[in-house]
Amino acid sequence: MSSPPPLVVDQVWKTYRSEAEELAVLRGTSLRLGAGESAAVTGASGSGKSTLLNLIGGLDQVDSGSILVGGVDVATLPERALAAFRRRLGLVFQFHHLLRDFTASENVQLPLLIGGAHRHAAGTRAAELIAAVGLTPHASRYPHQLSGGERQRVAIARALAAHPEVVLADEPTGNLDERNAGEVGDMLFGLAEQRGVTLLVVTHDRSLAARAQLHLHLEHGQLHVAGERSPP
């Protein structure tokens, strides 16, 4: 028996409604990623890239269509199950979204602790991931004591902490200079590949997009394949 694909987006529609207007952002968007596959989504500002990620992440609800993560339809999940669902994903945002009152190591432990991991296990796992992103000397620093690139590396470690099936990243390098962006991009794709995690990255950065196996372009509410490269 083969396990279901980690990520299936099928004919998703999403329209934002305000008193003045209706904005159909996603119009039958579809996407399918297998285990360990990576994809980059590019598109003009306002084309709906973040909207798509938010829907996949269970942070927003589709109008129609379905999003299956590991075979589970996000749209059908009640609020309490949604919290459990979110624990199966890793999220990386443009801004690190680290908790200010927690050290780098503690931030990485959070998804594990939220998932009910024992604190010793969480500590060990966090140390391993902090080492993987090259921040062992800074493990007990608070976010404000870290540079932008370092914070983003902590965010990547955090996203990978709880053994997610899928990692979603929204402009993970959008706030970094070129050198840092390159390093963080390497780390994100490298670690995802190494650990067999399915990765979906939204980016404006062409060089980052080029690292993905699948390069998709979002336009008029639909995804088009802009480039493909066979897995290494």
Partner: protein
């Protein structure tokens, strides 16, 4: 085109999947940081430390008032029932005065009753005290000369300032207030002027009644001041002058006769009631026996109502302080909106968000309560010194205002005649515990409301805004 979705439980998405103990630990850690830390996304100083201080500050006066009110009332009640009403009292019927029945003999029988520790024969009545040109109305209390020796409760509540409590011969022991009004000291002589009791209104202040108004020559009895005493509560003792029963036989023809009864524990209602019943059976028609609660009902009621009023006022302060917690928690949940959103995006269940913010309120309440009660108790233990210090400070300022030239009257913040001169410390443990528990409960409740809103927060709403 896709395989049918497996059940939620099979995929491990079932609610409540995280191990509860680990999650509880995390909730506690979050609550702790919400309480103490103040680095927030917006950089706004947050945390509940201000709320802790607010609660503590409002609990300090509450604790002081509770302890002091308790000590004052207990002290006053003790003085009433050790010195004034006694634990119980046999009021000898008026008609018996003429019959020649001796109150001392009856007291001897009462003393032999089970449960009675001491029975004190006494004659009370109003009289005039005259010394030099001064005349003052007094309540003459004729008691056995060995009363301070036989009644330990009496002796404990009476402080002799000058001389000794010596009623032998023609000795009189005056309250400090009477001695002051008459300008007499130990060794001085004064006269008891027998007055028909109906001529002197009990409320007469320092009325000086001229001998002429009494009609006919007054009977004078010379006595000597052997001691000056104070009970510490002027309102009770200001008109008391103690003499021996023998002196009263000459000087107080129209007194009330009574037998004061002391039992082991006046606060044991069952034992007291038994003694009262026994004594009533013994004296029969000769008199009426009542316990101190009945005798002093009016005073006790007024104490309790003033205590209730005082506590009510101060309790309002606590309520206001816990509103502090509510607003502090609101501001915490507002300034932590994004962090709450991150946590929810990471899969922290709404219940855990609610619990951690509410728990932060509980912790704030508990910390404030502990701090406030501790400081309050410390202040209450040293209340006499604290009051004296404040009064000295106020007097000093008054002196400055009055100018160096003239001497300002020392200022008393509380009128000593209405309160005990020295406030005893009795810990109302139950009340303090109730107040502390109520504070914690209120703080929890105050935090729960904004916490509920934070738990319901949709993470996207807060995530959209970036740091």
């Amino acid at each position: 085109m896709t395989a049918p979705a497996p059940t939620l439980a099979a995929r491990g998405y079932a609610p409540g999947a995280p191990r509860r103990r680990e999650l509880a630990r995390l909730v506690l850690a979050l609550a702790w940081r919400f309480l103490l830390r103040r680095r927030t996304v917006s950089g706004v100083r947050s945390g509940l430390r201000g709320a802790v201080l607010g609660i503590a500050l409002s609990l300090v006066p509450l604790t002081v008032v509770m302890v002091v009110a308790n000590g004052l009332i207990d002290g006053i009640v003790d003085r009433y029932l050790e010195l004034g009403s006694y634990h119980a009292q046999v009021a000898i019927a008026d008609s018996q005065l003429a019959s020649g029945a001796s109150v001392e003999v009856v007291a001897g029988f009462v003393a032999a009753l089970p449960g009675v520790e001491v029975a004190i024969p006494e004659r009370r009545g109003s009289t005039l005290l005259a010394a030099g040109g001064r005349r003052v109305v007094a309540e003459l209390r004729a008691v056995p000369v060995d009363l301070p020796q036989t009644d330990r409760g009496f002796a404990a509540m009476v402080e002799v300032h000058g001389g000794s409590f010596d009623l032998t011969g023609n000795g009189v022991v005056l309250s400090a207030e009477l001695a002051r009004q008459l300008s007499v000291a130990v060794g001085d002589q004064l006269h008891l002027v027998a007055v028909p009791s109906n001529l002197i209104a009990p409320v007469a202040g320092d009325a000086e009644l001229g001998a002429a108004r009494l009609g006919g020559p007054p009977r004078l009895t010379a006595v000597r001041v052997q001691g000056v005493f104070s009970s510490g509560y002027q309102e009770l003792d200001r008109r008391w002058a103690f003499v021996s029963l023998a002196t009263a036989a000459r000087a107080l023809p129209a007194g009330r006769e009574l037998i004061g009864i002391k039992v082991g524990d006046p606060h044991d209602p069952a034992a007291l009631a038994a003694v009262v019943a026994e004594a009533q059976r013994l004296v029969g028609q000769l008199g009426r026996v009542r316990d101190w609660k009945v005798l002093e009902a009016a005073s006790l009621r007024s104490f309790e109502s003033s205590r209730a009023l005082l506590l009510f006022v101060v309790a309002m302060i606590v309520v206001i302080a816990t509103v502090n917690v509510a607003s502090a928690t609101v501001s915490v949940s507002l300034t932590r909106r994004q962090e709450v959103a991150y946590l929810k995006a990471m899969g922290l269940p709404p219940a855990a968000v609610f619990a951690s913010l509410t728990l932060a309120g509980t912790l704030a309440g508990a910390a404030g309560a502990i701090l406030g009660v501790a400081v309050g108790l410390a202040a209450a233990v040293n209340i006499n010194e604290a009051l004296a210090l404040v009064e000295r400070g106020v007097s000093w300022v008054a002196q400055l205002v009055a100018g160096a030239g003239q001497a300002a009257e020392p200022i008393a913040l509380i009128d000593r005649s209405f309160y005990l001169e020295s406030i005893p410390f009795t810990l109302p443990a139950e009340q303090v515990a109730v107040v502390a528990a109520a504070t914690v409960a209120l703080a929890t409740l105050a935090a729960a409301i904004p916490a509920l809103a934070a738990a319901r927060l949709r993470p996207l709403a807060a995530l959209a805004r970036t740091a």
